[in-house]
Symmetry: C2
Subunit: 121 residues, 2 copies
DNA sequence: TCTCCACCTTACTTTTAGGTAAGTACCATA
DNA sequence: TATGGTACTTACCTAAAAGTAAGGTGGAGA
């Protein structure tokens, strides 16, 4: 595993998470919640409809969000996370735990070399 | 912990990692390596000097890279990761492991609800 | 017939990240 | 006096992301 391939792997993950609104949408859907388009609009007042749909569509294309259309008038469309999307939770938790280490004493701790990155995969 | 605060926490981490070149620099420095500016230039041929210094300075400001100046002519400046920077390794590994789950059977797995995000911190 | 709701779509503008190319400082050596 | 090696700095340009505002669809109820 070269620095390049490891970086590329992480970059591909970050691409899924990047975007001004993706994380906030994600955290609204964590825990198996199912929300309508209008629920998300209300939950995130600052987002525009264009941005909301754009981010949702990208997350759907990436496979972390499932879109459920009920053919009715007026329309009803629901969004929830896929199993894979739910599985993001512990990985994001690892990032938060890392952030919380800042300014703590890390002396004496051992961290793996980059050769081990993704080694368990 | 609200969806908003959890998302903000993760966003702050992503800000540190975002940028066209940060991860590749990071992976070159993982494992306790210390490299000169010119070493990094050689290791990452596609990067311009402006971009290299810009990303290094941001990473230094974020506290994940340490800059060591040797006052000589010609100049010699070395870069390595801080302890905190090294500690990123397992968190990035978690992201790679998650990516590897795609298209696998996740049925029967239990994932924590968002209320638990960062709960151990 | 008119309005309304929910879920988008489109056109346009602004902001920001990134890229290119050139220049600077320092002194050592030829 | 001129050249070169190292680590930057500056000015300018381009492309992608994000924001704003308006329009569209398709029936249900007034």
């Amino acid at each position: 595993m070269t620095p390049y391939s490891a970086a590329t792997g992480v970059e591909n993950v970050l691409k899924i998470l990047e975007g001004r609104w993706k994380l906030i949408i994600l955290f609204h859907l964590f825990g198996g919640k199912t929300l309508r388009f209008s629920d998300l609009e209300r939950a995130i007042p600052a987002i525009s409809q264009k941005m909301l749909i754009q981010q949702l569509r990208q997350m759907e294309a990436d496979g972390i969000v499932r879109r459920i259309v009920h053919h009715q008038v007026p329309p009803k469309v629901e969004y929830c996370l896929t199993d894979w999307g739910q599985a993001l939770c512990p990985a994001l938790d690892a990032l938060l735990k890392w952030a919380a280490l800042k300014d703590r004493d890390l002396s004496g701790m051992e961290f793996p070399a980059d050769e081990t990155i993704g080694g368990t995969v």
